[in-house]
């Protein structure tokens, strides 16, 4: 398969902070590729560089065969972007937003109306297309942004935290649209998220990044396989975790606050052995490994769950912008 995006030592430094550190990734055509990491990991900075909004400090990348440094205009014409913060215009109608976008991206007049009708239908906003965007809900705005990102038939669509701050039902709807789009158009989609279940559900491949570096990159299934079993979480005396290491099926022992977290092959079969050495147990939880566990096992920390304000890159971009 053809490579759509390729980065070479892509690096961005802001003063003494390295937001993205010698990133090397290749994304194939038609893939849904996830950049997963906590806020401030460098996800938005990476996307901003690929979209030619930010200039890398070092290294470069090609998007659809165009160099982001030498041919930014060609890159921009061939990509669609859905920002973390909605950027649709409140005082215009949904349709007007799309008409303006079509003009800015040079969608030929002859097919403009047809394209707009098509994307409105895709995201289910036909009936509200002539209402002012300020009357839209958060989910409708996000869908309008998706429609807009698709309007000029981009070969690559960048989605920066596409479901941040949305309620579970709306997230489900947005995920469905993303899947439909990917399937029906053979479009390459790059998305950032700090929701594990989002990455798990949507992505063909995931790069977990932390502090600007790729920690690990693989399919969601393979990543979960690397954890090496199920997760057993015991609320028990945390003072002597070493006692669990003697059990053959336990591959990993960790202490988190009052809990001892074990990684166990076929946990349900070996539970008896575990409980035998654990002493008094207040509660036990067994679950299959998730991407959360992958993240924890590679970075040693939990993905932070906060939502909203965005990472370092955005704060810095904003500060720079304002100066």
């Amino acid at each position: 398969m053809e490579t759509t995006i390729e980065t070479q030592d892509l690096t961005k430094r802001f003063k003494d902070l390295t937001a993205v550190d010698h990133l090397n990734i290749q994304i194939k055509q038609g893939e849904i590729f996830g950049l997963l990491g906590p806020n401030g990991a460098g996800k938005t900075t990476t996307i901003s560089m690929l979209c030619t909004i930010l200039r890398p400090t070092e290294g470069t990348a090609t998007v659809n065969g165009f160099d982001i440094l030498k041919e930014p205009d060609s890159v921009r014409k061939s990509i669609g972007i859905v920002f973390q913060q909605p950027s649709v215009d409140d005082i215009l109608t949904g349709r007007e937003n799309l008409v303006l976008h079509a003009m800015w991206y040079g969608v030929p007049k002859a097919i403009r109306r047809e394209r707009i009708d098509e994307v409105l239908k895709l995201v289910g906003l036909e009936s509200r297309q002539n209402s002012l965007v300020k009357t839209y809900s958060g989910g409708m705005r996000r869908r309008l942004e998706l429609a807009r990102g698709l309007l000029h038939l981009p070969k690559v669509l960048f989605l920066d935290e596409p479901t941040l701050g949305l309620d579970p039902q709306t997230r489900e709807v947005i995920w469905k649209y993303i899947e439909d789009m990917s399937r029906s158009r053979d479009m390459t989609i790059v998305l950032t998220t700090h929701y594990m279940e989002e990455a798990d559900r949507l992505c063909n491949r995931i790069a977990i990044i932390d502090q600007g570096k790729i920690v690990v990159m693989d399919t969601p299934g393979a990543l979960k396989g690397t954890v090496g079993g199920d997760i057993v979480c015991l609320k028990t005396d945390p003072t002597d975790p070493e006692r669990f290491r003697k059990i053959e099926s336990v591959s990993k022992v960790e202490v988190q606050d009052d809990y001892i977290v074990l990684t166990v092959r076929n946990a349900s079969e070996h539970l008896q052995e575990i409980l035998a050495v654990s002493g008094k147990v207040e509660s036990v939880e067994i679950r299959p490994a998730s991407l959360d566990d992958v993240f924890i096992s590679y970075t040693g920390k939990e993905i932070r769950r906060e939502t909203g304000e965005g990472g370092i890159a955005q704060r810095i971009m904003r500060e720079r912008t304002l100066r």
Binding site: D89, M103, W104
Partner: protein, 248 residues
Amino acid sequence: MSQAEAIYALWFREFKVFTREKSRIITSIFTPLLWIFVFGGGLGSAVNIAGINYQIFIYPGIVAMSVLFSSVFYGVYIIWDRKIDILKEVLVAPLSRTSIFVGKVLGGCTDSMIQAFIMLLISFAVGVYLSPSAFLLAILILFLLSLSLVSTGLIIGSLMESPEGFNMIVSFLVFPLFFFSGALYPLDKLPLWLSAITYIDPVTYGVDGLRTVTIGISQFPLYFDLGVLAAFAAVMFTIGTRTFERMK
């Protein structure tokens, strides 16, 4: 070709916003009307200048003032566009920064010119009678004035962080530009220090040009006024495109 359409789209957006926010036009017409009918009418009941009633004398100055204020303050909208994140969509589109600047300038000039048009229509109520050619010349003068001042406002807006900061800076700019422009007094008998400042205020030439074509009082030849205004517009427009090139 496609850039022309993109500029049209940028202008169209500004125009839509203007027509949907009716308060913008009402507030911007209100203050000049107070100046003409209350200040001008009040003082005019006792004062004549150069044999002309004061209210008629300041009419062209106040028309220029309305364009001055609306044009420069238009720059604040780019700060709001940035704040509510809609500027980003334009900045990442495959558009040249010059096109973005031109689209914004045309949008701002359209706002100002609609106001200027209304202000010129009320000339009859003041007792100033404009021939069609005088009307067209007045429009030309006001267009050049708004072109340079919208550019000025956008330059400041693109560099500023907050609407509050913008308003502060612009107040320090707009009020001197207004008071030193001779909008409220004749230029021929001024003390030297004041005269010197009025000569370096570009708005002076807009006021003088308007006065020439509307009520026939002039300090400078009309071609000179037009020349200064065109030069000022060219300079601000050039600085504006450069500033937008560097805008993040």
